[in-house]
């Protein structure tokens, strides 16, 4: 497999080469020569031709090594590891075409499903929990796909750094850091979204850099190619996880500053600038949005069977899914008096308005019948809608059909128990300052506290109330409060169903908005629900709302250990992928500490060196030509990478959702690339400051070799973390890993 891939890459590299030699003008507009060639005295490299050949050989080597490390022992362990239980399961859902819900966009899981499908996996494995044996199921296709994308990260990083710095040692160091990082290796070997996400992020970065290097030949074929490839990769990154947004911000920033320069170039006419702008809008906004939307179109087309995700979506949405009881159903369209209905709360995972023959316990409000919300379909969810002032049976054939309209005063009678939906000035069981809601009255005869005004929030369907589509509020006539569910779980006496209250706060929240789902009325003609099915844009919007709410619902608990963003760059603590005890096959996701701490040090050094150079330039200091070239690489190339690191790291400090160590890995890629550029620049600067040229060359070579070999050696030490270990735990002095537990918090 590796040679084929190497060939594929070489092809793309060929295409890029056409605009390669001019790159230097972008890196430093006022320079003509390749900064790397200029800045270091290195006659040994010989002619350009030879150099190019060397570059190819190195790229092939780097790719080969990357694939070798990622595919080595890929089948181990032959059981479900960590989040494979989620993403493997979701891949199976695609193969089985079962609808499910996840907080991430669908592309990543779709690709996993596709890989599984193509490799002959039949979707029958249950992925129930980590540790389940795969046995005869074919899991290698999915793992192989992830490992394939994970392996490409290394050549991508290599090419990006080479493009930014034009320095082979810098590119090589970056490649070594990533190849030999146990964390990247581990994360690439399993059925996870991360390798796919990182693949798209790095591909987007690489194509941006490539396209920047074509800037002097705008509208040429390679220019268009890289620009649209950037857009495609952005769509991919966002389509896998929402954190793909950060690379979009980075590319966006890059594009804006690019346009700003073009705009300030008075030699370009406004028409040309307009063409530039239009090209970018087309490739970086329209194209990605189309592709992103297309992934959802595929997602909803493939998943057409009812499954575990139904309940998260609205009633109208569910009617799309075969197997759901709303699918192909036909019910009356508009609500009329006498209709039997179920009422569903609009907020996700609240359920249907429900009552049952149990009273509120002593001391909790009035001792009347409980009203709750319940997630499952049940006879006790049925209510009859009646006029408030008459108890006559509206279904009596002698009465004419009368539709319920916005603003009507109604009574809701519980079908099974014939009690009315009722509220009064007693405090709700769980939520303070809200009123209790009960079932009251005998055979439909109660008091004026049973009267509710029905209001339609989205009145575009007129004053009638449409099943599934109309969003309604029920306002209690006497107290003026609004019927809602707090979403809190009642204690045992309430069968752990959810609390229903009447809230005096009239703010419109989804908790107090309902829609009618089932509707039975023999006097009305049935219509097919297909008419009510939401259109694709509505489905798209709804699934995004549900995903965003799902994401923000992932809140950490106070008393749990949670990973904090400041833990990550210092490699404070890893994640257990597999196994706990000393007899288990253990895999532990932890960055190679040598690599990670070097990265951390490099960021600090970069900030120091970068600001020193920037201040010197701002003070108008005259830098020697060599230093000038190097500082350009450092400030521009390094600056882009630093921005990438910051964008992929700092937003996590603001996130309220639960965080994990592996969220840092995209930032870590950028940090490693920065390390490559920084150390190469440092060594060159140091070598330049030495008087003797042979000493300088020696120093440069030794320095680079030292870094490369050091990284490789640390990988040799830490490789059991990724490839798996059995035997005593590291805190046991007997363990071969005991000497490697450099931090107390590491737990392997």
């Amino acid at each position: 497999m590796p040679p084929v891939v190497g060939g594929g890459l070489a092809g793309s590299e060929l295409r890029s080469r056409r605009c390669g030699p001019q790159t230097a003008t972008v890196v430093g507009p006022d320079k003509t020569a390749d900064p790397a060639a200029r800045s270091l005295k290195r006659p040994a490299w010989g002619s350009r031709h030879f150099e190019a050949a060397g570059r190819w050989a190195l790229l092939a080597l780097v790719t080969l090594l990357s694939f070798a490390t990622r595919f080595h022992r890929l089948d181990q362990p032959p059981h479900v590891c960590w989040d494979e239980t989620h993403f493997g399961k979701m891949g199976s859902y695609y193969i089985n075409r079962t609808f499910f819900f996840d907080v991430h966009p669908p592309l990543g899981k779709m690709l996993i499903g596709l890989a599984g499908y193509l490799s002959g996996y039949d979707g029958t494995f249950l992925f129930q929990k980590p540790g389940d044996k795969y046995e005869h199921h074919n899991y290698m296709g999915m793992r192989g796909f992830c490992a394939f994308l994970g392996s490409l990260l290394v050549p991508f990083a290599y090419l990006t750094v080479w493009e930014l710095s034009k320095s082979l040692p810098a590119a090589l160091l970056t490649a070594a850091l990533l190849t030999f990082d146990t964390g990247c290796l581990t994360l690439s070997q399993y059925i996870l979204l991360d390798p796919i996400l990182m693949f798209f992020i790095m591909a987007a970065m690489l194509s941006t850099v490539k396209y920047n290097s074509c800037a002097n030949r705008p509208f040429s074929a390679p220019w268009w190619f890289w620009l649209s490839l950037t857009g495609i990769n952005l769509a991919g990154a966002l389509g896998v996880k929402f954190v793909g947004l950060f690379i979009i911000l980075q590319v966006g920033w890059n594009t804006i500053s690019d346009l700003w320069h073009l705009f300030g170039d008075l030699s370009l006419s406004m028409v040309t600038v307009g063409k530039h702008l239009a090209a970018r809008v087309l490739c970086l906004i329209v194209l990605p949005l189309t592709l992103y939307t297309a992934t959802y179109a595929v997602h909803f087309t493939v998943l057409n069977k009812s499954g575990p995700g139904d309940g998260f979506f609205s009633s109208a949405f569910q009617s799309r899914l075969s197997g759901n009881n709303l699918h192909n159903a036909s019910i009356p369209e508009h609500l009329a008096y006498g209709s039997v209905i179920t009422v569903k709360n609009l907020r996700m995972a609240i359920g249907y308005l429900h009552s049952h023959r149990h009273l509120y316990p002593e001391g909790i409000g009035a001792r009347q019948q409980q009203v709750t919300t319940y997630l499952h379909k049940d006879y006790n969810n049925l209510w009859i809608i009646k006029k408030h002032n008459t108890n006559a049976d509206p279904l009596d054939p002698s009465f004419p059909v009368e539709f319920v309209r916005h603003g009507d005063i109604i009574r809701l009678e519980h079908k099974e128990t014939s009690r009315n939906l009722h509220s009064h000035y007693h405090e709700a069981p769980l939520t303070r300052k809200h009123y209790q809601v009960t079932g009251y009255g005998i055979n439909g005869t109660g008091d004026s506290n049973d009267f509710w005004r029905i209001e339609v929030v989205n009145r575009k369907f007129g004053n009638r109330i449409k099943v599934l589509r109309s969003r309604i509020r029920l306002i209690h006539l006497v107290t003026g409060c609004v019927l809602g569910s707090s979403g809190k779980v009642l204690p045992k006496w309430g069968w752990e169903q959810l609390e229903v209250t009447c809230t005096p706060y009239l703010k419109e929240t989804l908790n107090s908005i309902w829609n009618v789902e089932d509707h039975i009325n023999p006097k009305l003609p049935n219509i097919s629900l297909e008419v009510l099915q939401p259109s694709f844009p509505e489905v798209l919007l709804e699934s995004h709302m549900v995903m965003i709410r799902g994401n923000s619902g992932l809140k950490p608990k106070d008393n749990e250990f949670t990973s904090k963003p400041w833990h990550w760059p210092i490699n404070y603590q890893g994640l257990r992928f597999s196994g706990i005890n000393d007899t288990d096959f253990r895999v532990y996701l932890l960055g190679n500490p040598v690599v990670w701490w070097l990265n951390l040090l490099s960021i600090a050094l970069y900030l120091l060196l970068g600001s020193a150079i920037a201040i010197a330039v701002q003070r108008g200091a005259r830098l020697p030509a060599e230093v000038e070239g190097l500082s350009q690489v450092l400030l521009r190339g390094g600056g882009q990478l630093l921005l990438g690191w910051a964008l992929h790291y700092f937003p996590f400090f603001l996130m309220g959702r639960i965080l994990y160590f592996h969220h840092y890995f995209p930032a870590m890629l950028f940090s490693s690339m920065l390390t490559g550029i920084l150390w190469d620049t440092l060594l060159r600067l140091w070598a330049w400051s030495l008087a003797s040229s042979s000493l300088a060359r020696g120093l440069y070579v030794v320095g680079n070799l030292g870094l490369l070999l050091g990284t490789a050696y640390s990988f040799y030490l830490f490789h059991p973390l990724a490839y798996g270990m059995v035997g005593p735990l590291a805190q046991d002095p007997q363990s071969p890993m005991a000497g490697l537990r450099w931090l107390e918090s590491w737990d392997f």
Binding site: W260, G264, L266, N559, Q618, R619, S745
Partner: protein, 676 residues
């Protein structure tokens, strides 16, 4: 309102007679009938309470911000002869800025310091051009720093203005570095002066506030519980009264109470009692049926534990006492039931991934006692450190299973008397404060017999060392607690979302006269509000337009007026943005008054834009006079609205229901109308 309105004009035109007149009008509109109403209005309940605490020297903690604002109010009260004995617990139950600044709330103080910071920075940058390092240069520079720290000291949102000033100063400093006419030494001097005034001074002032706060409030009060034992012990009264005179070093035979350091959801002590875990839980899982161990939020005789040497039988302290050190293995004996703290491979009642912790009862089944715990002192200086009362934060690691004693935070059901669950956490490596405990009450046990011991446990612990926490430790702890204190995101009748603020879709009823319908509302002057919003939009559009044209080398404005335009925008529009946009990310309950600091900046922008339009965009005399006429119309309109809303601002006049209904210009305004 006018006082704010014309500020930038004042700044650029320096002194003119207007300042005096405007200040007078401003003061008048704010002090008008200030003593009315004579009842407590809205949040004055809280802030008033805090002031009383200062007067009585009682320690308190407010999650919303540092103590400087409270102290200022207290100072005002002190000067006014307020003695702190009034009980602030009953609510007598442009206009917005006036309403807010007339009442005893923090926003007006914050706005004052925000504007002072920006004003003095402008003054400073003016004198930068003329005479750097002159006394007035130093004065304005230092004043900027001090005003910034005061703003932060009043409310944490003041930090946004501080950052804005820092950013502008940073940009100016960067230009200064690029100024090649200055010598290196001179540039260095400039940078150091700015660092001293804008970084060091604010930090020092900020710490000073806390110093004063802590030295004023040295008595224990209602918020003690949130703080650590060590902090509480440093306050007068409260815990200190109990812990004073306790022996410092925990020895074998010591009787102790163990408090959880994390203390969330509530501060509590390790506890046990006669009841056992139910044989089968509601979920169908089984338990060990041994004696419950919980965490209990109240002082109780059942919170006492005896530290026992596993190699010895006695439960008393030897003479001399043998201290317990880091790494020692101990047993913990529950004082009242003499059972041993134990954990084993049984799932905990509510956290099935952790182990159950119990007091061991020998049922003679094959379940041996596992009651050895290794003591780890987290904040140790050396590996042989002695376990100290209050000061040492310890983890108890179970010897057999390597789990660590932890407060899970879950409330047990009725069988556990709703106390908090304590478990053995298997992820023993990971550090979390909920696994850390400290000794709070402590005495050397003397009684050999159980009966005597029970009497001893019931008697208060009294014995002879006083410990004082250093200021730095107290400052850091208080700071940490304030920043991590979570306000409960409960809804409030008058809470609103940031989007409502711009369109003034919300109001807050502050006060209603007990009998008549005179009332005070926080409501903006609609005209000013709308025109300020419009000015912001206009500014941004114009700015982008000019910027793009300048990039194409078309300069519509002369260089210096462009620079002034940019600076005014950076400070005013920027001030609005930094004081407004962050609220979208905040998850706490928000009110209209949170918008007022941003509004103050936005209103400052209004005259800047107006002046710009009349100076640069009205090319002909006709246009200019037309614009002036419009201005007068606009101004009288604003005055008219002010006048119409005046009764709701001052609450001095009772309006009839129909008048009130007429004033309810938006449905979302909660104007209170009494039912007849």
């Amino acid at each position: 309102m006018l006082g704010f309105l014309k500020h930038p004009v004042v700044v650029t035109a320096n002194i003119n007679l207007n300042v005096v007149a405007l200040t007078a009008v401003g003061l008048l509109s704010r002090l008008w009938q200030l003593s009315y109403p004579g009842a407590v209005v809205f949040d004055e309940v809280y802030y008033g309470q805090y002031i009383s605490f200062y007067m009585k020297r009682i320690f308190f903690l407010d999650g919303s911000g540092p103590p400087f604002g409270h102290m200022l109010l207290a100072l005002g009260g002190y000067l006014g002869g307020f003695d702190g004995n009034f009980l602030w617990n009953r609510i007598g139950a442009e206009n917005a800025l006036i309403t807010q600044s007339r009442l005893m709330l923090l926003e007006s103080v914050l706005i004052f310091f925000n504007l002072l910071a920006v004003l003095s920075y402008l003054k400073f940058s003016n004198s930068q051009k003329q005479r750097p390092f002159s006394p007035s240069w130093w004065f304005w520079l230092m004043l900027t720093g001090v005003a910034c720290s005061c703003a932060v000291g009043v409310k944490y949102v003041g930090v946004f203005t501080y950052l804005l000033v820092l950013a502008v100063a940073g940009v100016h400093a960067w230009h200064l570095i690029g100024d090649r006419t200055l010598s290196n030494v001179c540039v260095l001097g400039h940078l150091l002066a700015r660092a001293a005034a804008l970084l060091v001074t604010p930090a020092a002032t900020y710490v000073l506030f806390f110093y004063v706060h802590l030295s004023l409030a040295y008595r224990s009060g209602p918020h003690d519980q949130i703080m650590s034992s060590a902090f509480q012990a440093s306050l007068e009264g409260g815990l200190a009264r109990i812990t004073q005179g306790q022996p410092l070093e925990v020895a074998y035979g010591s009787q102790v109470t163990l408090k959880n350091v994390f203390g969330k959801p509530v501060p509590c002590w390790l506890h046990s009692h006669q009841s056992t875990y139910p044989v089968v839980y509601e979920s169908g899982r089984g338990s060990s049926h041994q004696q419950q161990v919980t965490c209990y939020p109240f002082k109780d005789v059942n919170n006492w534990w005896i530290v026992k040497d596993p190699g010895r039988h006695q439960l008393v302290v030897n003479n001399p006492p043998k201290p317990v050190r880091h790494g020692d293995v101990v047993q913990l004996v529950h004082g009242m039931t003499t059972r041993f703290l134990n954990t084993h491979d049984v799932a905990a009642p509510l956290s099935p991934h952790s182990q159950e912790v119990s007091c061991y009862v020998d049922y003679n089944i094959s379940m041996p006692a596992q009651n050895l715990w290794r003591l780890e002192i987290v904040n140790r200086d050396s590996d042989t450190e002695v376990w100290k009362t209050i000061l040492s934060e310890v983890r108890l690691v179970h010897v057999n299973t390597s789990t660590v004693l932890k407060l899970s935070g879950a409330h047990l059901p009725d069988w556990g008397f709703r106390q908090l669950e304590v478990v053995g956490e298997k992820m023993a490596r990971a550090y979390h404060e909920s696994t850390v405990w400290n000794v709070e009450e402590h005495r050397y046990g003397k009684s050999q017999e159980q009966k005597e011991r029970e009497v001893e446990l019931h008697s208060p612990a009294q014995m002879d060392v006083s410990r004082n926490l250093s200021f730095v430790a107290r400052f850091l702890e208080l700071q940490w607690r304030m920043l991590t204190a979570k306000s409960d995101g409960s809804e409030h009748k008058y809470s609103s979302s940031p989007l409502d603020w711009v369109t003034l879709d919300t109001s807050i009823a502050y006060w209603l006269h007990p009998r008549t319908s005179a009332q005070i509302h926080l409501l903006g002057n609609v005209v000013i509000w709308a025109s300020a919003g419009l000015a912001t939009v206009l500014y941004v559009l114009l700015f982008v337009w000019y910027l793009l044209r300048r990039r194409r080398k078309i300069c519509d404005l002369p260089e210096d007026s462009w620079l002034r335009w940019v600076l005014a925008g950076a400070l005013c529009a920027g001030g609005w943005a930094v004081n407004y946009l962050p609220f979208f990310l905040m998850e706490k309950t928000l009110f209209l008054y949170h918008y007022l600091p941003a509004l103050a900046f936005q209103i400052l922008l209004l005259p800047v834009v107006l002046e710009h339009i009349s100076d640069h965009l009205c090319r002909t005399q006709l246009l200019r006079s037309l614009f002036s006429a419009l201005l007068v119309a606009w101004y009288s309109c604003a005055c008219h609205v002010f006048n119409a809303l005046r009764p709701l601002t001052y609450g001095d006049r009772s309006l009839s229901p129909s008048e009130l209904k007429a004033l309810r210009w938006k449905d979302s305004w909660d104007i209170l109308i009494r039912k007849q």
